[in-house]
Every structure is written in structure tokens, then in C-alpha cells.
Subunit: 253 residues, 2 copies
Amino acid sequence: MNYFMRIAFRGRDFNGTQKLKDKITVQSMLEEKLTSIFDENIKVKIGSRLDKGVSALDFGVNFKTSIEKVKPNKLQYVLNRLLPNFIRIKECREVADDFNARYDAISKTYLYVIERKVENPLLIEVCWHPIFDFDIETFRNVSKLYVGNHCFDFFGSEEEKDGKILSIEDVWVEEKGNYVLWRVKGRSFLRYQVRFMVGTAYEIAAGRTSIAEITSRLDGTNKTTVHHKAPASGLILEKVEYDFERSENLAKE
Amino acid sequence: MNYFMRIAFRGRDFNGTQKLKDKITVQSMLEEKLTSIFDENIKVKIGSRLDKGVSALDFGVNFKTSIEKVKPNKLQYVLNRLLPNFIRIKECREVADDFNARYDAISKTYLYVIERKVENPLLIEVCWHPIFDFDIETFRNVSKLYVGNHCFDFFGSEEEKDGKILSIEDVWVEEKGNYVLWRVKGRSFLRYQVRFMVGTAYEIAAGRTSIAEITSRLDGTNKTTVHHKAPASGLILEKVEYDFERSENLAKE
């Protein structure tokens, strides 16, 4: 039996999502609770690898059990009773055996919340407060340069360079009073990619570097990694779209 | 010289607003920083006394200095550099000598943020998550019973009973997705009054007690204090209106 769950969690309480020895991570906390519920060793597959400090409002995981069927609704209820309230199970459902929370994700939308002038102490932990003022139109326009198919090797971690072309479906910049919401949607991202993308666009919009920081990396003429990484705290995985039908159709064939 | 400031702060970081020996409070933190800036002993007058854990998005204070004039803009900037980011100075201005942040407040609006189903771990610390489900229409209707002039002695702390009539200008209940926003506006409130008001309305809306919990206290037939106190964490002092002209006109006369 393969269970899929959508969860939400607060980044500051975890050392990232992936299991790490002796550290509290999203994967290890879920495995511990599920293992105690099912009384068998449960391995959780995570849909995304998020850095320490990054939050999620929609994060997919799946795991398999060999034992008797537990109703998804019931499992969701029991898990939410066992977990601390900074991590919540929002949905739980049965999926086809070959469904994988990582590979069946069609798209991911990340949100950066930027507070331009710190006035709301209640939200400081989920916002980024850049030091310099920046031009919103420039921020929007240069962010649009990322849209399309590009090699993002120079916006990723040093270890991951492989020349692969990744697709950014769209980038939106929305102004809401004192806040700027920066969103990016794509199928997959390299480690640190979103933080480098928003950090570089901000540096250009703040007049601290030129537009070539983006263009020369995207066309491959500059083969050094950008170094403008926005902090983890303002980053939220906001939405993940899944293709539940693919594996269900495969199962029927 | 009399300075007025509007500030915002996160309740979880303070032991309330009023000075307490050996504890971090809003008043003591401001006095400490202002004393170091002006190099004389500054006494801060606070506009409201908020319980430990209650946050504010708009909280008025005033204080007097004997020394040379410091521009309000400059003072705001310097203070925000010295203060941690869970407390922010939003406005600073000079006011008439007899202006008092407590007595010149015309109205205060308190907001309770209620999340009915915990799904957003990013906001758990500024919301109240009641255990029982409740009927929103009943919650709205019974909350309206508070509007008008009443003696709130049985919705306040035990020490404060004095038969004084207080005026509640309005109560609003707004539903926003998973959230219920409960607001009350009035000139002054007894200690615990807002927490008792919202807590009692919720108990009735959850079908756990009768409407007499409110009516019998407001008409004085029941002389026991209600015991349904909502937690401090969901409570926010959202807006304070001031009469700046009163003291300025007095000064001109």
C-alpha cells in the first residue's frame, strides 16, 4: 500500500527536509511517527529537498506499508495528533504502487516573501528583509529573463553542474503594500537555484550589479557561479502539482 | 520636549508591556534604549497595558526629555537600529507637553486571529486554534451583544470591579478562508476583558454554554466572573486612534 501526503511545515524548526544523523528533519520526524503507528520500519520518500530554514505550505511525500490497510483520513488525524503543530498533514490518500512524490511532480511553485520596510514584527521569520532598497520594475523585468529553457548550472550548487536544460514556466512579481511577493514555477530546480535567482535579480534591481550577472550565465559566456544567494528564511515551497493519473493509468494497462 | 511613538511588537518576546523587575517588557526595553540615546533617565508612558504574549501592530507610547531637540525621524531611525527586529518604531513625532499616550487615546481596536483548522504552521504563533468547532453566525450574533454601554465587571480581572460603564463601539466577525477575524473597538478595556469577551462568545458558538453567560453578566443578574478566557497568543492590538488636537488646542488657549 502506497500512501501520498501533502504537508506544511515551518522551516525554522527543521534542519532541512532530508534525513540527517542526529538532527531533526522533516523526513526523520515523519519516519519516526509512521514507524510507531504501523509498527514496522517506514521509509518516507520526499518530493523536494529543501535547505535548512526553508518552509513549505505544500510538500509531497509518499511511503509504503506492507501491513493491513489504514484509512487515509484516519492516518491523517492520528499523525496530526502525534506531530508538533509546526508540521501539519493537509492531505493523505492512497496512490498507485509506482507513484513517487519526487518523480511524479509536474511543477513546483516557490514563493519568496520580501518585506521592504520592516514594520510587522509578527511576520519577520517568514520574510526576507533586504538591506538595500530596490526598483520593483527592474526586479520584475530581470526576473523574467529566467523564463524559458536554460542551463542553470551557474545558479546552482557547485557539485551539481551537469549542463542539463531546465525549464522555468514563469516568474511573477507582485507588490502588496509593504510586501513584494516573488514567485517562480518550474518542473525541477537545482540546489540553491531559487535562492540564487531571486538574490541576483534583487542585486540588479538594487543597482549593485549589472544585468550581465544573469544573461552571461544563462548564455554560458560566464562560467562562474553567481554569489548573490537570498536567505533561506523568506523562501516557501508554496504549491506542487502532481500527475496522479500517470501511475494509475499505468496500473490499469 | 514630549515625543510620541507608534510601535509594533511580537508578544512572545516580552513579559507584557509594563515594567517588571528583571523581566524584559516593552516599557523596560524602550526605557533602556532611550536612556542610552539621551544619556538621561527616560521614563516611558505606555498607552495600553497588554498581557504577556499579546502582540501589537499599533501601540502608542510617549516620553519627555529635558535635553536638546532630537529630530523625530532621526530618533526613529536610531532606535530601530538599536532594537531587535521583533519590536519596530513605526512613527515618531513631537506632541504637546500634556499629551499622554494613555489618556489621549480615543479608541482601541483589538483583533483576534482564529485559525479554525490548523493548516498553516507559519502563522501558529499569532493565531488562536480553538479545540472545538463553532458556528460562525452564532459567534457573530452573540458577540454583537457586547456592543453599547455596559458594566463589564464580570468580564474583567477580579481586582478591577468598580461598576464603571464602558462603551464598546462595535464588534466585527469576518471569515477569510480558514481564518476567522474577530475585532472589537472601544475606548478602554479592563484587564482580560477582550480575552473573556471572545472566549465566552466562542463557548456559546461551540454549543458548550448558553447565551446567558453574556446576558446575565451584562444586566448584572449574575455577579460571577466568566471563566472562558481565550489565550493571549491570538490577540493583537491592531489600531489606536489618538486625539492630537486636544492637547495642541489646550496649549494655544
